[in-house]
Each structure stands twice: as structure tokens, then as C-alpha cells.
Symmetry: C2
Subunit: 703 residues, 2 copies
């Protein structure tokens, strides 16, 4: 790889096309036959060696936009053409040599690339190439390293994947070969920090489907120390040996800064602990001593007994270093630091956080926060939240969040409206120590957690996160809403790859690699969780549904197929027969099920029950959604039959929605959800949630 060293030594920022392809060819990337020559005669003999037709390109340092400068002659068929064009090209300002290349046939132009992102480190790109790259913006990024399966997944994730199929008499694209190119770029990215970016563009596809690099450009780093912190972590970060178990099942807890004043956070946290029936030992510290909520308060940390598991620190930011030191001296190894005022606010907060990091490192304690709204562990009847929460309902959903909402109003919303409970909740705050990766690892192994939802604004150790998430995603559904995807790729970047590298695209790739199911709406953190809390993951994308209205059947069918990747499954014969039996003859029953004529004939309860049961028994259907019609005058049936059906067929999701009068729609929710049947207020929602869970299933099934 001396071209790189040479370029750096010469103070160049790029390696030219010829050098770049030599380098890539040396790593097994298929490149077009070509020779770099300095005179027209040499060009002719090169062309003869290659075989006509050929391409001539002007070459020279600083010659990037050859095509725009008229520096390319395509499809030269004979020696005299090479002479004539060669002469012309060498006269172009800046041209120093001629590159003679085979003329590669085939109509398809793709692109492979590598970029070294300041945060995410080396990332590999695949997408549509050629001169329209920035128009189509159809590219996918993944973080290095890539497995073969990753690379193949990436290739299949471009929007215009149709282009990979047989095309106008040309063979299907050899995607295995492209996958190898991507893996090679990934390896180069990990090995050679002095490479800033690589463009292989176009990667042409020959008529036989084989890819071949026709142009390439490599950017090198002027300053090796400026970029690439992200990959350091993999090697350097020594995993701390403590598990998070002590946070989620502490046998003794001290609240530092407990308060006797109602409304104060230091008071509410104690109230929450009591409201959740914490069964371990609870110690309070307040300089004034006395009694708080019936418990004695020590007046200083020194007065605490030795060997308490966990301290919840409610005192202000500027006391944190001292408090952690003092507690560590008393043998406390685990901390929840509530105070804000650290790196999230200003420079002085940042230096405070630096000091805090030092004391954590020195003492070896483990810390959640600072600036966390606390954590919750319902199996252990415990919370460190300091927002008035009351008794938090226990369940099997766990949240890892870079926001306090799941220790505050969103938790209240879940508890009061959505009829499901949580297992573990952790507010990461500033992530001075415990981060999403460690939390995910813990919840992955946690028998109390059946599904994991993350809200993150950044990912501290992207590669470890991917590794962990892939492992966890094999066992449990994992979802993530990523906030703050605003950084755009720099359009002024020298390479196409760099120009395309937006935070949004890299995040998309990272989440795909991690086998995590991406959410886009805040509400889905709650609605998809409810669906999974009450029902199994659907086994496929084939939905069966019933509605009391043709318009609803039509509109929802359109959306299922066109927007959500759901199939309105074709029913088995026996199902069709059963549906027809309960329907007036003039309706030809099928999926979706036009249920109202049957309801008028047999009553709402009978018709819905029979039709739902038929769909539940149909092997072509993976989930069933009845839309009820609930109005007083047509009669609101008792809804026990839905609960019974859900219990009788526990392996198939049943989601309920409704239309009609509000009090009955509200009543259906209040009746069904505590009995384990989820409901959704808008008729589109059950389908949207199914589509999310279907994506999740596919992610979990991936290699």
C-alpha cells in the first residue's frame, strides 16, 4: 500500500484513479484492465494489449472531475482513434499521463465506498452509482466490520433493488461478488487509519452480472489524530466486571439528600420507593437528620452503616464528587446521580463531569447518570425515580432511554391508560459510566424482560452496541427510536461517499446491522410495547381483518399493501366456507371480511366470534384485527368472547379497534386491555403496529 504512504509523504490528500485501482486490485477487488502511459504511442500498444474498444482518460494530480473537464474519450475502436484522442487529452490543462482502460459493457452503475466518520469510525457504503449518485441518493451505510450476511443485507436494502435483477437481457447482478468488495472495504477501513475515504464509482455491472470497478478515488488523512476515535473502543475499552444486577436488585439503598419537604425531588424519591413496596433496607441522609416519611434520616454519610449496595444521590451537581467519594469510602459501589448541571449545560458543568469521571475511575464504582431521572425494577419493587410515580405496574417490557420521560409523564401515561406494566426502566442521563450497551446486555439476559425499547440520541460505543444488540435480538424483540437525526452529509465533500454520509443514513445502517427494529414515532414506544406486552410476535406479515364497512376494508387493504408491507392473506378453503355459512348469500366472503351483513343476520357477537375464530384457525393468517362497531342502537355486545378467543388462540395476535360511540369505544378498551387484549383508538394503528412487529420478526430471523 505504498501509494498511500507516497501520497502522504507528498502532502497529497488523494490517491489517484490508477493508484487507487491498483491498491484495490491488490485486495481482490475486480477492476477494469488498464495501463497508465505517458505518450500516445504507448497508449496505442496498451489498447492493443487490452483489446478494443477502449476508454482513454487524462490523468494528473488534481484531476478529479475528468468527465466534466472533457478528459474522457469513450468507446475508441481503433488505433487511430486512440492516437487522435490521446493527443487531444494530453493537451488538456493539468493532464500529465493517459489512462487506457478496457471499455466495460453493461448498463448498470453501482457504487461502493468507505468513509471514516468522526463518531462512527469506518463505515462502508453501497448504492446506486454513476453521475446521478447525488440525484438518486439511494445508498446504504453499515459500520465496519461487516459479516458476509451484513454485506448481503446492505445490498438488498437499496430502494431500487430491482436493478439487481435480470435487466434488459443482462444477467442478475452477482451480489456475492459485491458483498466481497464491501467486506474488503470494511477490512481496509479497519486496518488503515490513514485512509479517510474510498469511492468505487462507478462499479459497473457487466452484461453477465459481474461487477467491475471502473473508477476509484481514495482520500487520505492529513492528520491521523484528528479522526477515528470510534474504532479505538473495541480494543481499548476494558469491560468492567460488575454486572448491573446490583442496580436492579439492590438489597440496601441510601438516599443522599432525602428531604422532608413534600414536592421536593429528595422527598418524592423516598415516597416512590415506599409506594413500590421496596423490601430491602432503606437509609436516608439529610444534614438535618430527623425523620422523613416515618423513617429516620442520618445527618451524614459517615453515619451510614458500611456496605450499602446503592446510593441515590439527590444533592446538587457541585456536591457529586464529594458525595461519591464519601459513599465509596463507606463501601457503596453503585450510584444513581440525579442532579443535572453537568456537561449538558455548559463548560463549567463539563469540567464538573470530568472531575466526576475521575472519581468514578479512581474508586471503581458504577454510576447511572448524572442527569438521570432514575431507574426502575418492578420485579424488585424498586425505583430511583423522583417524579411522583406511585406504584409502577409490573410487566415484561423494559425501557432504556436517554430521556426522563419513562420515569415521568410517559410512565404515568402507560400506567393510567395503556394497561401494561414494565420490568426494568433505565434513564441513562449523561452516560458517564453505564451506557445503552451495558443496559441492553443486562436486559438481554434478564428473565423478567420480554421485549426491549430504546430511546437514544447518540450511541456511545457503536461497535460494541451492534455486537450486543445482535446477540440480544436473536432472543428478544428490540426496538429503537433515535432522536436528533439532523446532521446532513456534507455536499462539499470530495468523495460521493462522504457527500452521502448523513447521520440519518449511518444510523439507519447501524440499526439494521444491530438487528434492531427502528421506530420513527414517539407513540410507538408505547403502542408497540402494549401489543407485545399482551400478545405474541406475529409469525408472518399476513393479516386477516374484519370491518363493518366496505370503505374501511378498502382503505385499510390499500394501506396494508402499499405502505406497511403487510399482506391481506388469502384464506384457506375451510375458512372461506365457514365465513360464507354465516353470511348472506349475496356477499362473496373473503379477506378482508365484510362482517356487517353477517352481523345483521346473526347478531354482532355471533358473527364476529365465528369469523374471528375462522381466521384464528387459518394457517394463512398471522394476525387478526377485528374492527368493532359500537353504537347503542345497533347494540353493544358483551366483549367476553374476544377475551375467550384471545385465550383460546394464544399464539396468534388479536388486536381490536372500533368505530361508533365514544363511551362504548372507551369501554371496550377498559374491558379488554386489563384482560390481555390490546385495543387501538384509530383504525390504522393496529396495522401500523403489526407492520412494526413484522419488521421485528424479520430482523430477529436474520442470520
Amino acid at each position: 500500500m505504498d501509494f498511500i504512504t507516497d501520497a502522504l509523504a507528498q502532502g497529497r490528500r488523494t490517491v489517484n484513479e490508477y493508484e487507487a485501482k491498483q491498491l484495490l486490485a491488490g485486495r481482490g477487488v475486480p477492476v477494469c484492465k488498464e495501463y497508465l502511459v505517458s505518450a500516445v504511442d504507448e497508449a496505442v500498444s496498451a489498447a492493443e494489449k487490452i483489446g478494443f474498444p477502449v476508454v482513454l482518460k487524462a490523468s494528473g494530480s488534481g484531476f478529479f472531475h475528468k468527465t466534466d473537464a472533457g478528459g474522457v474519450a469513450l468507446n475508441l475502436n481503433r488505433a487511430e482513434d486512440v492516437k487522435r484522442e490521446g493527443g487531444r487529452l494530453l493537451k488538456i490543462h493539468g493532464a500529465e499521463a493517459l489512462l487506457v482502460q478496457e471499455m466495460v459493457g453493461g448498463d448498470r452503475e453501482l457504487m461502493c465506498g468507505l468513509i471514516r466518520d468522526p463518531h462512527y469510525g469506518p463505515c462502508v457504503m453501497f448504492g446506486l452509482g454513476g453521475i446521478m449518485t447525488e440525484v438518486f441518493e439511494d445508498v446504504v451505510f453499515h459500520l465496519a466490520p461487516l459479516t458476509l450476511a451484513d454485506a448481503q443485507q446492505m445490498i438488498g436494502e437499496i430502494r431500487h433493488r430491482k436493478l439487481l435483477e435480470p435487466f434488459r437481457g443482462q444477467a442478475a447482478v452477482d451480489t456475492d461478488e459485491i458483498a466481497r468488495v464491501l467486506m474488503t472495504l470494511s477490512e481496509i477501513g479497519l486496518e488503515r487509519r490513514e485512509i479517510r475515504s474510498i469511492d468505487i464509482n462507478p462499479l459497473k455491472i457487466r452484461r453477465d452480472g459481474k461487477p467491475i470497478a471502473v473508477d476509484a478515488l481514495i482520500g487520505v488523512n492529513e492528520d491521523l489524530n484528528k479522526e477515528g476515535p470510534a474504532e479505538v473502543e473495541t480494543a481499548a475499552k476494558k469491560e468492567k466486571k460488575h454486572s448491573l444486577e446490583r442496580f436492579f436488585a439492590p438489597e440496601s439503598v441510601a438516599v443522599i439528600g432525602a428531604s422532608a419537604t413534600p414536592g421536593k425531588a429528595g422527598h418524592t424519591v423516598v415516597k416512590n420507593i415506599l409506594a413500590n413496596d421496596y423490601r430491602g433496607e432503606l437509609y436516608l441522609v439529610n444534614p438535618k437528620g430527623g425523620e422523613i416519611l416515618g423513617l429516620p434520616a442520618a445527618s451524614s454519610i459517615e453515619d451510614l452503616p458500611d456496605g450499602i449496595d446503592l446510593a441515590i444521590v439527590m444533592t446538587p451537581a457541585d456536591t457529586a464528587v464529594q458525595v461519591v467519594s464519601d459513599c465509596a469510602a463507606k463501601g457503596i459501589g453503585y450510584f444513581v446521580l440525579a442532579a443535572g448541571g453537568f456537561s449538558e449545560v455548559d463548560e463549567s458543568g463539563e469540567s464538573l463531569q470530568k472531575e466526576l469521571a475521575d472519581v468514578i475511575a479512581r474508586t471503581g464504582v458504577r454510576t447511572i447518570g448524572p442527569n438521570t431521572a432514575g431507574h426502575t425494577s418492578t420485579p424488585h419493587h424498586f425505583t430511583s425515580g423522583f417524579f411522583p410515580l406511585g406504584k409502577i405496574p409490573r410487566g415484561y417490557i423494559s425501557y432504556i432511554t436517554q430521556t426522563g420521560n419513562f420515569a415521568t409523564h410517559t410512565m404515568r401515561y402507560i400506567a393510567t391508560a395503556e394497561h401494561f406494566g414494565v420490568a426494568r426502566v433505565i434513564g441513562l442521563g449523561n452516560k458517564i459510566d453505564i451506557d445503552e450497551t451495558e443496559a441492553l446486555e443486562y436486559m438481554g439476559n434478564d428473565p423478567e424482560t420480554k421485549a426491549i425499547f430504546l430511546y437514544l440520541e447518540n450511541i456511545k460505543r457503536p461497535r460494541r452496541f451492534i455486537e450486543t444488540a445482535r446477540r440480544v435480538s436473536r432472543m428478544k424483540p428490540v426496538f429503537m427510536l433515535k432522536g436528533g437525526s439532523t446532521r446532513e452529509g456534507s455536499q462539499a465533500a470530495m468523495t460521493h461517499t462522504a457527500a452521502m454520509a448523513s447521520d440519518e443514513r449511518i444510523t439507519d445502517g447501524l440499526i439494521s446491522q444491530a438487528r434492531i427494529t427502528r421506530l420513527y414515532d414517539y407513540s410507538h414506544l408505547v403502542l408497540a410495547a402494549k401489543a407485545l406486552a399482551m400478545m405474541p410476535l406475529p409469525r408472518g406479515n399476513r393479516v386477516g381483518f374484519l370491518a363493518p364497512s366496505g370503505a374501511m376494508l378498502v382503505v385499510l387493504s390499500d394501506i396494508c399493501a402499499g405502505r406497511w408491507g403487510l399482506a391481506v392473506g388469502e384464506l384457506e378453503e375451510k375458512t372461506l366456507k365457514r365465513l360464507q355459512e354465516i353470511s348472506p348469500a349475496y356477499i362473496k366472503m373473503r379477506n378482508p371480511v365484510d362482517i356487517w351483513p353477517s352481523a345483521l343476520l346473526h347478531g354482532i357477537e355471533t358473527s364476529y366470534r365465528e369469523a374471528i375464530e375462522a381466521l384464528m384457525n387459518d394457517r394463512n393468517i398471522d394476525a387478526v384485527v377485528p374492527i368493532l362497531m359500537l353504537t347503542e342502537d345497533v347494540g353493544v355486545p358483551p366483549l367476553d368472547f374476544l377475551v375467550e378467543l384471545a385465550r383460546k388462540y394464544p399464539d396468534k395476535p388479536l388486536y381490536v379497534s372500533s368505530s361508533g360511540e365514544k363511551k362504548y369505544m372507551d369501554g371496550a378498551k377498559e374491558f379488554l386491555e386489563p384482560r390481555g387484549v390490546p385495543t387501538f383508538p384509530l383504525i390504522e394503528e393496529p396495522f401500523e403496529v403489526l407492520s412494526i412487529l413484522n419488521r421485528c420478526r424479520m430482523n430477529m430471523e436474520r442470520q
Copy 2:
């Protein structure tokens, strides 16, 4: 246009490339310089006339896929190249002549086309062209005729419109010139029914931005009578002179088939009329006579007085012809036909409907239905609905629907949950007479109607509909949900244009032409209506919002920009100043507004009120969305201040959403909505609705 006549006479289904371009050139479409020659020598002199470089193409009847067959030689620079390649091409099987063309520079390939759709008639297409047409599927259809503004609009609607901007040293595309090409295709489509389709593909864009047709193909009709019913309507359909006023303001009404039996439709309809305090004369007809709901029933139609305005016919399908005849004989001119069992069920129903159409034509009566769930006119205290509805709340929203839902459960939902009322509602049923176009015309002129929502599964007279909708859309917001967009373009079609012509794409174009705002979710028929019932249309896309959580601010900002075309507006200096005054110093206030720190300082009511008022006064903000946090422990403020702010600033929409405890969230809805402030249960919804209304505003402002 003799090429067409010739082709038809010869039994050909296409006009070849040369002929097609001659024909287009004759209509002013810019085409490349070219000559059709039969020998190599002539090709050379043609090339010399054109000027090198040139393109040679083999030509012959039945020679469509020239490129695939190797029948094209590009970029020939000299006479000898033309000779050599010409000789080769003439040897290809099927080649009869040579087409010598100028070699057109420029990298961009677009496409213009025409197709004659069996239902929609001649439709013009614009999109990305070249060999990748079917891969990118980036095309837009509009129905002929096109105005210049339509054509320009179409051009701007392709996804990759970036390609029209200056590109790699090449000028911006001359879209005016392309608009003229599209208008020419539109004219040809209207004039020449014997043309089935036209492809201009590629329409290359020269480096100076000028479009030029480089290849073209015209398909001709074997059977002139088989296709193209849709355009007949424009000329042939004589508008009936009666207005719909009599339906919506009848002075006297007869219910034919009124019933004394509770639960029967013929009973419920009478109950509904009474419940809505209808003030005109009401006559009932039942063979048994007697009394129904306290009113006397005539035992036959003959017993009715002459000159009743409107008959609601509740008797079965097979009585319809007789009933309409008898009523017409008594001078009744307007009918609502409730019975189903016509063309929507089977062939015998279809022939019944045919008979009914005959009697309608013969008597000249006007008819809603058959198979309608009725219509409603709250300003006239009247409904013909026969689903138990009670008193229908009066308001300014009107619905035109090809479903009964807005006379049944969806109306109950609106009445019981969403706190707004309706003006006119019409269920179109089978549209034997009154259709969406006439209904829209009426509601457009109706002073009681402020916004119109349509649900349609097909459009009976597409051109008249577009014409009417454009007129109405200038005055009032018009929205449409189209159900059943499933017909795909035929991939086996001979032309690209035909291959791309799916029902979904043509519908999209039609709705755009009509200046109607397309909805995709059923729920938006209600939620967008609620927003407009309570608030004005936003004047722009700049939203200002407040949330009690950073995560919500971040996620919603992402979605506003990335998904919904909303801008999170930059605030004026004075607004920033005011926000900063009410906030702790460590927060730098901006839009979106991080309100919770301020709420902790000044209380929820004060902080929200001050911040909302500041945004209401900001000229850079077009709509304001506060997300409240409503939980008992932090305190739920009285919400009068929101009502006061809404009244104080009536020109700017204020939408409220909330998070927290369900009973307070429900309470906020129950308090605010009857006072004119709309609320939305999921925090994403107000933004989605704003984005819909913003599209609406843009449609209304279009030329």
C-alpha cells in the same frame, strides 16, 4: 398525420421512430436532426449534413428494442465509422433502413408520454426516462387537457426533481419547453382517438438545458370503439338544470315504506327526521296505513298530495321502478333510494339498475342512490339516514362519500367524540344519477359549507370532476380519500407510458390537477375535519411547538422536517427574548420550546400561556402546538387560558396534545374541544394534520 392512417391501413399497431418524430416535429416538439436512408452511402451524406458525431440506428417494422438487439451505434465521428457501422446494422435481421441522427449531448434523460386509459381517457405522463424508466418508476400522470400551469406542476412533482436543476456544469432544464411538449401530447390525445399511446423516451436534455426528443414510438388503436369512453362525457353529457338545493332543503318529504316496527330502517328514518326537528311537511306511506311514531301513514302513494319535494324510498330493490314511476306521477321530482341489491351485487341487480336508469331518464327526476345510506342537511334540520343517528350536530364540514359510514357509525363517532358538526352529508351509493361532481358543485356554492371531505372509490366523470374541483378548491379546502387504488400498470405493455399507467398514479395526477388534497388514512377524514371545524387553515408550514420533554422536542422536530414538510420556524428576536425571560438562564430558548424548566419556575399555566402567546405573536410562526403534561402530582392547571388564547388569536391555528395521566388527558379534550380548541391523543397527530392542511393551502394557492 398520415403516418397514423397508413399504419392503420397496413394493420400495424405502431408508428415507427422516424415517423413518430416527424409527426411530433410537425406539432412543434423539438426532435433531433435525423434522416431515414436505405443505403450506407446515403447515411454518410446524411451524417455530413447533420454534422459529426452522429448516431446510427437500424430501422424496420417490428424493430422496437433496437438497443437490446445491438441495433444502435453511438458517437460516430467520421464518414468511415458511419460506413462500417451502417454496413453492420443493415445486416441485422429485420433491419430495412438506417436512421442517421445527430448525437445529442447532455447527461439527463427524461420522458414524456401519452396513454389512452379505458376509464380516464387520454392521460399525459412525465418522468425520468432512458433505459431505467421501469427501475426508477418516477413518473407523474395528468389527464388531458392540460393547462400550462398543470404541465409545470406535473414536472415539479417527480421525486427526483433535483435533476431539473443545474447539473454537473449543465444548465437547469428548460421546463417551459417541456411543459409545451406535454401540452402538445395532451392536444394530440384529445384530437386523435386513433392514437393509443405515445412514448417520447428519452427526451434528452442538452447541456444548455433544452429538451430534445431522441426516440419516440406511437401506438395506434386497432379498434376505435374499444377505448376512450371517458372523454365523451365532456361534450355529450348535458348538465341537468335542477340544482341539488331541493335535496338539501326540501319543504315536504314522503317516506315510502315507512314502518311502525322499531329497529326497521323504515322506522328509524322517520325517527331520525323527527329527532332532527325537521320543520317541513312529512308524509309517510305504508300499505297498512295506521300511525307511525305519532304520524298518520297513507296506505299508498296515490293517497299522497301532489307536489311533494322529495321521496325517501325504503322499499326493496325490485319495487324501485314502480315506486319512482308512481311518485313521479304525483309530481315528486327528487328521490333518495335506500335499497341495495342493484349493480353492486350481481347481474340481475344490474339489469334492475338499468331499468331504474330508464325510468329516471324518462321522468326527468333526480336521484341519490340507489344503495345509499342517505343524506343529511343540518341547516335544514333534515336527514334521510336510516341508521339510528339521533340529533346530528350542526357545523360547517360537509362530506361526499361513496360509503354509508358518514350516515352511520362514523357520524356517531364524530357526534359523540370529536365535538364538531356537519353541514351537508351525502352518501352517493351507486351514483345512478347524482354523482360526486354535482355534489361537489353544490357544496362549493353552499354558504353553510366551509370545508369538503370526499371518500370515493371511483370517479364517474373525471374531466368534469377536475373542472369543478378546481373551481371549488379556489374557495374552500377540499380533501379526498380514494379507496381501492389497486390496479397496477401492465408490465407487458408495449410502451413505457402504458407500463407505468397504474390506477394509483393516474388517480394521484387527477387529484393534483383537481387541486384537491389527498388523504391516505381513514382517520384523517375526521381529524383534519375537526381541525378545520375549530381553527383556520394555517397560512404556511412553519410550526411553533412546546413540549415538556427534550425527547419529544427532538423526535417531533425530526419528523416535521423529514416526513411532513413542516418547518420548525426560526423565531423573531422579540419572541426569543420573551421566552428567555420566563426560562431559567441555563436553557437557551428557541423553537421548539423546551417549556418544562420554565413551568417548574413559574407554574404550568403561566409558562405555557406566556410561551404560547409569544409564538402566537411571532410572524415567523403559522401554527402553534403545545404538548401539555397533565399529571396530578405536578398539578393540572385550569385550561381556560388555552381557550382565551385561541379566541384572542383567531387567525392562527392552536392544536393541543398532551402526555400524562389518562383522566386528565381525556378531561382536557372534553373541556377544550367544545370551546373550539382541537386536541389530539397521540403527540404526532397535530403535526400530521398540520402537514395535511399545509398541502391544502398550497393546493388552494396554485394557479
